[in-house]
Subunit: 316 residues, 2 copies
């Protein structure tokens, strides 16, 4: 499928940072950056922009904060075709800290929110637009949002200036039929806006759900090198680029970055499909408990984890 409008967004550092508190050394981040540039990736998301009142520097590496000086150390003036993105969480950033675009290396600010924060997300996104940035709203955990709430949010968003909106499968719990239905709902409710997709791999469906998103009109596609990301990880960039026959993308630089930095990282931190993530995903639950289980001594006792989750369900 050759659709020129498609943009690929690398989230390796931002989503992968959830596994190591954003403590990537400069050489790691530079390697991913150079790979993205050479592969033709449209955006690279370096991390979160957060307030030091919300998170400590002692516990988190530089990509939890994305200071201009840190970005500049990696990208210089970024005279490339790969734009720089950061994510903000509602309540974890002071808007006054967002400089005017002309003083920043950042091109796009993505506002992540839960459904009850949606009004604030629109306000944050419009604030950033007024400062000169591209913006986007990523509504998390949509698999837990009831339809009246979602419809109201979409109506508000349709009336806003915000041009980009993401379908986010936070729990890795959505099947292709649900992706299709949500894509159709988003497209219908948001004429003229661009829809993106951010998938998780709890049930080995991150890549296929991204393809389903593309088929139904998603034009911003999140992926990470070797699927690096929280728990079961994300849509693997190498799968996505191998699928997109679009001539602007190249697979080889992605593989180069993977073999130099991301594949060796698997010796230190563990991510990707494991049965506890399948269980939480298939039950439409936050991966928190499965991640705790994976950190424990009984990580390979899948039967016990299923029993625990079933017991919890009965109590709810």
């Amino acid at each position: 499928m050759y659709r020129k409008e498609i943009k690929v967004v690398d989230c390796t550092i931002r989503d992968g940072g959830l596994m190591n508190h954003w403590r990537f050394d400069d050489d790691f981040v530079k390697t991913i950056y150079r790979s993205c540039v050479e592969a033709g990736v449209d955006y690279m998301e370096f991390g979160y922009k957060s307030s030091e009142k919300s998170y400590s520097r002692a516990e988190n590496g530089p990509w939890k904060f994305c200071d201009e000086a840190d970005l500049r150390r990696i990208v210089g003036d970024n005279k490339t075709n790969t734009k720089i993105s950061v994510m903000v969480d509602i309540g974890r950033i002071e808007l006054e800290a967002i400089k005017p675009k002309k003083e920043s290396l950042i091109d796009m600010i993505r506002v992540a929110c839960y459904i009850h924060q949606f009004d604030k997300a629109i306000q944050h996104a419009e604030y950033c637009m007024d400062k000169g940035y591209e913006v986007c709203i990523n509504l998390m955990s949509v698999s837990k949002v009831i339809e009246p709430d979602l419809d109201e949010a979409l109506k508000d968003l349709a009336r806003s200036k915000v041009p980009n909106f993401y379908l986010v499968d936070s729990f890795g719990s959505l099947y292709c039929e649900q992706i299709e239905a949500l894509m159709k709902k988003y497209k219908d409710a948001l004429p003229g806006k661009t829809i993106g997709i951010h998938a998780h791999n709890n049930m080995q469906l991150a890549f296929s759900n991204t393809i389903t998103g593309i088929i139904h009109g998603a034009n911003m596609l999140d992926a990470t090198f070797l699927g690096l990301g929280r728990g079961a990880g994300n849509c693997p960039m190498e799968c996505l680029i191998a699928f997109l026959k679009n001539p602007k993308y190249r697979l080889l630089p992605i593989l180069d970055g993977i073999q130099k930095k991301v594949h060796p990282l698997q010796k230190e931190i563990s991510w990707g499909y494991h049965i506890p993530y399948l269980i939480s995903g298939s039950m439409n639950e936050h991966p928190k408990e499965s991640m705790e289980w994976m950190d424990g001594e009984t990580r390979d006792d899948f039967v016990a984890f299923l029993r625990k989750m079933h017991d919890k369900e009965l109590l709810e």
Copy 2:
């Protein structure tokens, strides 16, 4: 989705045997069998039925041959709801070796063939039907078959007595649109027959392609415990059973079998998604070269493997 017609076919021993020459000890096979019985799996495929003129006992374990005595050691009289399946390869079996059903523990014989063997496959399958078995034809490598040949085969099959036919993605190279198109073609060409799907995980699409198959009418579904199978492996049984809300299936016995036997096996043999398999899958190539690459010392040099495959493509 609740569709009573759906049958799940476990291929853990048969397809997994491609990774260890079918040298599973009895305890391993018994564990898989008991898990299948308790989980409500409809068929368990124990291996290939092959001639000792084609394969040596020295190089291959019992499940390359599936003698009645070996089966009986595992299943006794098999007084369960899980039927027993074996696969035969054209040219690797003497038909005279197939006993009448009433002398055998086997319920179903699946005939695997390439497109040029299709006439023989129909003859073999009808021979086995006449002996009293359920039968099926699995057309391998359909991603390399041109349409006129496929249409002719389907016409011949439609006229035959053979009731079951499989969509087999041998190279793990098919995307959901291609699965959908092939499912529609098979359904249209074969009214009244049952279609099955057997997917491989080279591009992390085995499970999602199986779901696409279900959506478009596949009612026989192949899967293996933890995806155990050649190279990148198969559709994981645990994902499939977690997806099917059908009350006849239970996830817990599958997880029990995985944690007792299949997960520990990962320490001895390596299967599942790796980048060389993605490369061969995305190029619609047999996984032979990627499997050789994975056995070599440069297995993690993904760039070199991509270059090698591109060079080969240019020479062809």
